[in-house]
Symmetry: C2
């Protein structure tokens, strides 16, 4: 029996039945028995939003609700970095009204000191606690000062073989491991695969600095690899999720699907379903 259903069975056996499932979250918060080893936190799905670049915020919200994912990471296509405080408040209110939460912002590009400055003005206004970023290596010192100043986690996103600075999680790890711990990695598993690097191994080797995940499948382990529905490509997604689970990863697992970007919903739904299926077995 899957772990989720063991819990359900308990609820049924105690006569609470299906109607009590909304109380499941409360049950999960119950203190463990004294000698029971503390279980790793369950992984929570989210949606990065580059893939919604052909849709507006309202359409994005509708799709997130349809696939039952409540956490989204806001990118500039949905809310520009130049947005006013009023525009930010309006976007957040729209999310809240739909039962969604912005779990962070990004991917935000910081290729100059000016861009970095503007980015953190926005981060402060939007009250993000985590952002995924692309940053010029020369700006790492300035970045470090900013993450301390605002107490924000900045997860550098690896972009595969075309990205000279940040092709893989390992490349990021080498450059950030001695910096403030608020600087880490947003592991894009598809781009790691496209760089010819095993994303399971990459996750294992850098897990302590992975703060965000773009869970993506691709159809080839070369720069010609393209995003595909999760489970249909060559990335060992169950292996990655197992390592994250084992490492006690407490961030969001963002589902990314970029194949049919003008007709996103079916492939996005399939990808979210795939991740849920894997997680229901892993527990």
């Amino acid at each position: 029996m899957s772990p989720k259903h063991t819990r359900r069975r308990f609820l049924q056996a105690t006569g609470l039945g299906a109607a009590a499932l909304t109380g499941a979250a409360a049950a999960e918060q119950a203190p463990d028995a004294p000698n029971k080893p503390k279980a790793a936190p369950k992984l929570t799905l989210g949606l990065p939003t580059y893939m919604f670049k052909n849709y507006d915020l309202g359409q994005t919200i509708a799709m997130a609700r349809r696939v039952g994912v409540r956490r989204i990471c806001i990118r500039s296509n949905l809310l520009p970095l130049t947005a006013t405080a009023e525009q930010i408040a309006a976007a957040m209110a729209k999310l809240t009204a739909a039962g969604l939460t912005a779990y962070g912002g990004g991917v935000i590009y910081m290729r100059s000191a000016q861009q970095l400055e503007r980015a953190f003005e926005h981060v402060k206004a939007a009250e993000y606690k985590i952002i995924s970023i692309n940053v010029s290596p020369a700006l790492l010192g300035a970045l470090e000062r900013k993450v301390k100043q605002h107490d924000v986690r900045a997860a550098i996103h690896n972009h595969g073989p075309e990205d000279r600075n940040w092709p893989t999680p390992q490349a990021i790890y080498e450059k950030v491991k001695k910096l403030d711990k608020r600087i880490g990695i947003c592991h894009d598993t598809g781009h790691t695969m496209r760089a010819g690097v095993d994303p399971v191994e990459a996750t294992r080797k850098t897990a302590d600095r992975i703060y965000d995940v773009h869970l993506k499948d691709v159809d080839a382990a070369t720069r010609k690899g393209h995003s595909t529905e999760l489970g249909r490509g060559i990335v060992d997604l169950p292996g990655i999720l197992r390592v994250l689970r084992g490492a006690g990863y407490a961030g969001i697992v963002g589902i990314e699907y970029e194949k049919h970007m003008d007709d996103l919903l079916p492939g996005l739904a399939e990808s979210v379903g795939y991740a849920r299926g894997v997680l229901d077995v892993l527990g």
Copy 2:
């Protein structure tokens, strides 16, 4: 590492790389090493077609292709039982041209001797090797003669608490266990749950006579339960798939989703993705 990806890793390690993945089926057919226990057959997904009742055959084919499922079970909404040989041939040609296969027919209702007669005329013309059916218990003798005559498997579909004859797999099992082995069960896991019976236990107890599966999730274990996206309801789908896998089930696992039947694709895609995710971990 998931079993699927172990195989992929092997292909990569041998230098065959991603381009050789199309040879994976051949690799699976390779003879086992002498002392290796024979692995249970992998489960294959399919699509029953009641859920497409608001769509025609062309639209059904397009959706099946979009979610990457190649086996469909033809129901009368797509091809009437009164279809001529030419109409049957045209429908099958349409499937073949799209790379799909009709793995069988049904659910076909046989509530009178006349309906049973007509049904088997159709089965013969369509050359089905398996059908899912609803049949009056009084006709079981006639059914037994027909399945022998045509050498066709007939899987009686359980329809939950409203079905006086066939609410659960166990109810079917009791009535067919002494009949010809070609008569068995099409286990609809959602209807079993709606009957208040544990679908995992039902699968375990009747596995040797389960010839078809409608893998369905529902939101309550009562007659008021409704179909929902796989993984979002209360049915322990990983548990069912694990039992089927362990029992060496060689039939099709049909994915059923009946929530948004006027806008089927997103929920269907999510449900197919979910089943794939579970199976990728189970191996």
